[in-house]
């Protein structure tokens, strides 16, 4: 069946004239499938955080857009991502998060793999008690590894395997935040927030990367962080977001604050930045803490937001940490009615994608421009392959 292709011509124009993406990009399963390949599999997308597998042998099965994956820290502490299936009969290898003590043993016929993915044993493959066969080349039958890279503790994956090297693809954002290239410590179980939201994942990106909505949706910020204190961040084709010039550190009843990331520099004393790294990772940096949000697209109209908070030291104050988690949880929950409301709005069949404030919405337009460009490239490749 040939997909009816959406018209994106009016998305890739200047912010003054552009419309947003058509409704189908938020509600149509066929377009969701197209975007899965054009925007998520072909790029460096966020899957999880390395803190999900803190110790050697820790393994967590997960799904990424329907694909069963296994996040694992191997015996030498390297984080890896494999397709979570046995090379024999395609059986799911690991069903629940657990520590792999020795080998990953398939529960079906007990083929065994090392935590580095090497096929180490094939019991009875040549008949009872005969564990080898000339047709079964173990070196060719290791677990299928998905290209991955850890940056800011986020496990980024490139499913298609043909994106530019991570360091090349992310060079600009890494340079922008080079002062923050310091050890990050996950705050632990009290520093994780999971939000299930009835929205397309792109609306979460779009809302995150602009400051226009802040005074209306987050009135609590108005007392110290006014709209005019914010600035837009745009790197076409890579990322967009917003920054503030008046970040104020959280304090507890004794006036204590979180320790700073050492050597981060005076530039960041009152500055903080919030950037959506395309496609699906939302990052925030401050002098004393950071966060990463992985947007997990579960379907055209369902997204799970996995929020993780990080500090400069492994033993940050628990009370302050919990206060900070609550603060951010409130902010992120305040955004839910917005992204869910926009999602419902995408079912109004006369909606033309909307218009942008050329001044306030340009980070969102930057994202739409990227989306449209990637989809058009994807379509051109598909046509060339026909």
């Amino acid at each position: 069946m040939t997909l009816h292709q959406t018209d994106l011509s009016n998305v890739r124009t200047s912010v003054e004239r552009a419309n947003g993406l058509p409704n189908a990009h938020y509600i149509d399963p066929a377009v969701f499938e197209e975007e899965k390949r054009a925007l998520l599999f072909s790029q460096w997308a966020g899957l999880a955080v390395a803190a999900d597998v803190p110790g050697p042998g820790d393994a967590v099965p997960m799904e990424f857009l329907g694909m069963p994956l296994l996040l694992i820290r191997d015996k030498d502490s390297q984080v890896r991502v494999f397709q979570n299936i046995c090379r024999h009969r395609g059986m799911i290898l690991v069903e629940e998060p657990r520590k792999i003590e020795g080998a990953i043993r398939c529960p079906y016929h007990s083929w065994c793999y090392s935590t580095k993915g090497k096929l180490v044993s094939t019991p009875h493959v040549g008949g009872p008690g005969h564990n080898t066969h000339e047709a079964i080349k173990r070196d060719d039958l290791g677990l299928v590894e998905v290209r991955s890279h850890i940056w800011r503790d986020v496990v980024w994956i490139n499913v298609s395997g043909d994106a530019p090297a991570f360091g090349e693809a992310m060079a600009d954002i890494m340079a922008r935040w080079s002062e923050f290239d310091l050890p990050l410590y996950h705050g632990g179980h009290d520093s994780r927030i999971t939000l299930e939201v009835a929205t397309n994942w792109k609306l979460a990106v779009e809302n995150y990367c602009e400051s226009y909505h802040l005074p209306w949706v987050h009135p609590g910020l108005n007392s110290y962080s006014k709209l005019e204190d914010h600035y837009n961040i745009e790197k076409p084709g890579e990322f967009s977001g917003q920054g503030t010039k008046v970040y104020r550190q959280l304090t507890n009843e004794n006036g204590q604050t979180f320790p700073d990331f050492e050597e981060v520099g005076a530039k960041w004393n009152e500055r903080a930045e919030y950037i959506a790294v395309y496609p699906n990772v939302l990052l925030g940096v401050h002098r004393d803490h950071a966060f990463a949000i992985i947007l997990e697209p579960r379907g055209p109209e369902k997204t799970v937001e996995h929020v993780h908070l990080y500090y400069s030291v492994p033993d940050s104050d628990e009370g302050l940490r919990m206060r900070n988690t609550q603060l951010w949880k409130t902010v992120f929950e305040e955004d839910i009615f917005v992204v869910e409301g926009m999602q419902k709005g995408r079912h109004a069949n006369q909606f033309d994608g909307g218009r942008f404030s050329p001044v306030m919405d340009s980070p969102t337009h930057c994202f739409h421009h990227w989306v449209a460009g990637k989809i058009e490239t994807h379509r051109a490749r598909a046509r060339a392959a026909e």
Partner: protein, 71 residues
Amino acid sequence: MSQGLEARLLAAHEGDDRFALVRLYTQAADIANDLDAECFFLTYAYIFALDAGAPEATVLHARLKAHGREE
């Protein structure tokens, strides 16, 4: 295999006691009447040792390899 050993093996399977499975399948291999039976039981012992990260895996692998049953 004796009935007692078989019962202990079944109990170890029931309790998912992999270290006991390694020990009991090794015993079964040690008392097997022929090479095929020995390697059959050694295979189970080896696989459960691999699964559990048990140190016996090295010796069990060596036994199987010596018989041409492992790489």
